[in-house]
Subunit: 196 residues, 2 copies
């Protein structure tokens, strides 16, 4: 059993945390990205497959490579972010399973079964993207996740000739609260869940 988090921590992670669109001019050092990865990597994935791969864009050159893939409405909030994380996944993640899941021949469950490998990479890579968002908040960063971009262009610019595929983007930095809108409503328990 885990210890309970206090109210301030629940606010930081969930209740008062917001998706950010405007960023302070405060840089995010590379050591902070290493700290981020060293938390998110512990989030659970199917057979410890850990299919997510991450590209952290911090330089003008790196961001310029991404720019042609962004939709108009997502351009400014993304290009002004101190760091843009490309959340991707490796379609050949199963080649790491002899190391990541040494108890069984888990590689054979996926190698040669493209449909299972693809759904596993996408589902678990997405879980790891969510771990990144919450881990960022946990270490004092703000996050702005978004999927309004051209995945094929990102794959061509960053992952040509590899087995990595882009999933979504997460802008990272220290948010400027003046850019926030009032929070949108959520579905109630009864609208989104049922008990059986």
């Amino acid at each position: 059993m885990s210890d309970l988090l206090d109210a301030a921590a629940l606010d930081t992670l969930f209740r008062t945390a917001r998706t950010h669109y405007k960023w302070q001019e405060r840089p995010v050092p590379d050591t902070k990205l290493a700290e981020l990865y060293d938390l998110l990597k512990f989030g659970p994935t199917s057979a410890n497959s850990s299919p997510a791969r991450f590209v952290f864009l911090r330089t003008a050159e790196g961001k310029a490579k991404l720019k042609p893939a962004l939709s108009e409405g997502n351009l400014e909030k993304t290009m002004t972010a101190p760091v843009i994380a490309i959340v991707a996944h490796d379609m050949k993640f199963f080649d790491e399973l002899p190391k990541l899941f040494p108890h069984a021949d888990a590689r054979s469950w996926f190698a040669g079964n493209d449909a299972l490998a693809e759904v596993t990479a996408f589902r678990n890579g997405s879980l790891q993207g969510a771990y990144l968002i919450l881990a960022a908040r946990a270490i004092g960063l703000d996050a702005g996740p978004m999927s309004g971009f051209d995945n094929a262009k990102v794959d061509e610019a960053f992952f040509a000739g590899t087995s990595w595929k882009s999933n979504f983007l997460v802008n990272l930095g220290y948010g400027d609260e003046s850019g926030l809108f009032p929070r949108s409503p959520r579905l109630s328990f009864d609208e989104a869940a049922r008990l059986e």
Copy 2:
């Protein structure tokens, strides 16, 4: 900018948290499931689309409906869990967008575009499944997520005639640490990430 979480909270969420397979005989009251939902619902989704839907199985009847869909290796750890959450998503999530995203006609982005609706439901429903796992840990529950089951059988048993589709399962309760194995290794930063 968020407040930083302390070391104990980071341990609870990520560093010492474990996927559980054996459960204490300690029930999870329905009020705890409502508390869980009231945290996870705040996690960000694309256009606030919130496509995930949840069925919490706590009764013998509910669990019996799930049982034929479970693979042999996942049977005992699942049937003995106090609660099994079916993480699903609504393929018609966009019908809620006039309420969830009132600033724009977001419904029209998805209605009639089945491919975009499907990838959005699956990606964001998976993110919300990850929020559920971490929110469970944050309120003192242990989680055992898993995808080793027959999705078509779950859809037939629970969601026939609806637009809900199963994604994965999360066993919930208070874990029995005697059922844990040593933690498996994770990829290093340099194996899973790069800086540009």
